[in-house]
Amino acid sequence: MRKLERRSVLKALGLASVGAMTPAMLNAETLKKPYKVVEKSMETDILVIGGGTAGTIAAIQAGRAGAKTMLIESGSQLGGTTTTGGVTFPGIFHAWGKQIIGGIGWELVTDCVKLNGDELPDFSIPPARHWKHQVSVNGFLYTLLAEEKCIEAGVDIRYYETPTSVEFKQGNWAVQTTGKGITTQITCNQIIDCTGNALIASMAGFDVLRETETQPGSLIFQIGGYDYDALDLTKIPKEYHHVLRQNMIKNQTSSSAENTFVPYGYVYVPGADSTTSESHTKANNDGRSTLLNLIRKLRGFPGCENLKILDLKTETAVRETYRIDGIYKVTQNDYLEGKVFEDAISNSFYPIDLHVEGKGIHQVFLEPDVVASIPLRALIPKKSKNFLVAGRCVSSDRMANSALRVQASAMGMAQAAAAAAVLANKLGVSPHEVPIEEVKKLIRNHGGILPLTT
């Protein structure tokens, strides 16, 4: 009896629902007019182009310093190499027992570490290997925090947009962008090119440089399902040992909460170039097909039959493409000698680190107590106005660039570039015309660490 009652009630309810919903559902389908691309016109003080490792920091700094700031990013999230590229162990912020890069980049890293319940390495003792002072971060958290900090700083983030033209007119830049169903005419006073590829500098007509052969990119992944120590390595060709060892399962569980480095695997992607949609697509295609072939090959080896791919980053991370021809070009000698320029606005600490496909990595380490510095002039293209870059396209020779390109250095220069842009906007001048002491003061006031003798 009770069952029947329940069934009746449910039936009645169902009928009532159908009765209630039917008219609305019948009316739900409407014919839409063909979409017309929306044309917008916007103004801002500072336009940061590229929301990667450098761009995120530059935008936050500009916003916090009170400038109206817009950030356009061709992808769907912030962080670039640190997130989309999967290099989730930015460094290096410390050298010889001291912190040498701070500010917003360090804030993001430490916030990630704290929110993830991790611990920082002991930076007071120089490590045996430089990368042990890179700090492993949770890439997902980094993405979330970067976006939150941008929004808090009042930065207008525009994802899925990319410039199609840039023109300097009457003291301002006119930047035409296109995105999903939208084109935007952005008028801004200062541009910070954080594309990593100096794409905007080149579009604006400033000289850019490129090596005939560039360093390979890396597509980052993790594999599991095997135990390296249990493998019979005599039955596995030597060239595959390192790939398997890099992904050793036992190393993927950290013995302590101290976050230094998470084992990862990567395949090299020769000639990887993220400058254009076409070149970036090719870099992704090449990386993915190389990885797929590798997985197929590895699964054929004894002990690797159950090998699985556990993680694959969204994009091939790129090491080297274009560099600007800046007012000053940092040389390898400058870097290795730790030259401190009068307009040095950030430190940099990493070995000269040139990856050469098939030949390994050419490394030259800085001598004890030596820390390199970056001059503001290296962030300004020759003959430019109201224009800065930050990140790996910094004006430098190839060897210096192989060290300057790393994340902490890119973050340091991004904060400095933003400080210079904010002041240039305020004073109505070009960045190289801003009194350098003013730039340094603003950097310092927001946590940037300046080279010691400046």
Binding site: P126, A128, W131, E152, H241, H242, Q363, D369
Partner: protein, 393 residues
């Protein structure tokens, strides 16, 4: 990296005539002159520069069998301040099925840091081809032994002979096993086993024993002396041994806050960590923290504001000081200051002073203030009107 200092024939150490009577603790007057000014010895900077007066021998279980005894000697000053520790080492170094004796005296700073080595009269170190070490090689050895983080720490004795790149790791920058090729900077060519053995003796269990013995002698005065060390590792060791070890005397407090002023942010962090939570209830400590927050640079401020956040209840004057200085803070320090204030009971006057920043043209500032005031559930109509004007109702 520490600056390497070689001390030869200078009156920093009095090498005490060795005792052959091993007792649990034996105190003997130290000889006041060098036994042999030409003996081979290399040292790092020493923390305590007092004149040696007495030596105590401790029988401790080192579990490393490096000599006939497990004696660890502590050399102290007349006022009983520990100056340094040493062990007499007589141990074989074996490779290729051959063993050679190694006789050497190893020294530790009171903080456990490697201090130096001295070879007994007539002894010298030699390589596999029996060539004695050159001066450069002794200097390099001194440097290697002083290096705390080295690949030598992660390998075992047998791996010194692993074939180069046997794992095909040569092209990996991230994870690379030790190979003779990349170990070269960390060992003396032709004396890899000797280097390896000495490094592990220096950085092994003796180091912990030294630290334990120093902790037995720890006092605010000793901490103050160590904090004068030119070596950062000593300063950090001292700062890590304040909280829970010694009282926070006024002299110590003054010194700790002095270190919070520096531009070495690792030291600043450690100095702040040395302040025990109970000290944070004191008005004086809160005022000193506020002073540092207002006067020091951003990278000090960001650490100090975290410490202020650990205070259970800020004194009224300190809260007002923080409110009145909000305008001088930037970026994350400003945000954190608001987080600190959100944990405190504020007066209407304080809220009004904070609400003034709603008028800031800097969107980061005005938006942060608006978010703060909204989260405080303010009911004052004037502040609500300001919020409304700011676009936040």
């Amino acid at each position: 990296m520490f600056r390497w200092v070689k001390i030869r024939s200078t009156a920093i150490f009095n090498w005490f005539t060795r005792t052959t009577v091993y007792v649990k603790i034996a105190t003997v007057l130290a000889a006041l002159s060098f036994a042999n000014a030409e003996s081979i010895k290399y040292f790092q900077p020493q923390t305590i520069l007092l004149q040696p007066h007495s030596t105590q021998a401790y029988q401790v279980d080192m579990n490393d069998a490096i000599s006939e005894s497990n004696s660890l000697f502590k050399v102290s000053a007349k006022d009983a301040t520990p100056i340094y520790f040493y062990r007499e080492v007589f141990t074989p170094v074996c490779f290729d099925n051959k063993c050679r004796p190694l006789t050497i005296n190893l020294f530790w700073n009171i903080t456990g840091r490697y201090l130096g080595f001295e070879l007994p009269e007539g002894e010298f170190l030699s390589k596999t081809d029996h060539d004695p070490f050159s001066v450069d090689e002794y200097e390099k050895l001194n440097q290697i032994l002083a290096t705390e983080r080295t690949p030598l720490a992660d390998i075992n004795y047998n791996q010194l002979t692993v074939e180069s790149n046997s794992h095909g790791l040569g092209d990996i920058d991230a994870i690379s096993a030790a190979t003779p090729q990349n170990l070269a900077p960390y060992v003396i060519d032709g004396a890899a086993y000797t280097t390896f053995k000495l490094w592990h003796l220096i950085h092994g269990t003796t180091r912990n024993q030294v630290q334990k013995l120093t902790i037995q002698d720890i006092s605010p005065e000793l901490i103050l002396k160590i904090l004068e060390s030119p070596v950062q590792a000593d300063k950090i060791w001292a700062l890590e041994h304040i909280d829970g070890h010694v009282g926070f005397t006024s002299d110590l407090k003054e010194k700790v806050f002095d270190l919070i002023k520096g531009e070495n942010y690792l030291i600043v962090e450690k100095a702040l960590s040395a302040i025990h939570k109970t000290e944070l209830d004191s008005l004086n400590v809160q005022q000193l923290l506020m002073k540092a927050l207002i006067q020091e640079n951003y990278n000090v401020q960001i650490r100090v504001i975290d410490k202020i956040g650990e205070c259970n209840a800020l004194k009224e004057s300190v809260k007002m000081h923080l409110v009145e200085n909000l305008g001088s803070l930037n970026g994350q320090v400003f945000k954190k200051a608001l987080t600190v204030l959100a944990e405190q009971e504020l007066t209407a006057e304080m809220y009004f002073k904070i609400a003034v920043f709603l008028k800031s043209e800097n969107a980061f500032i005005s938006n942060s203030i608006a978010a703060f005031l909204k989260s405080e559930h303010i009911t004052d109509p004037q502040i609500l009107a300001l919020l409304k004007k700011n676009g936040n109702e």
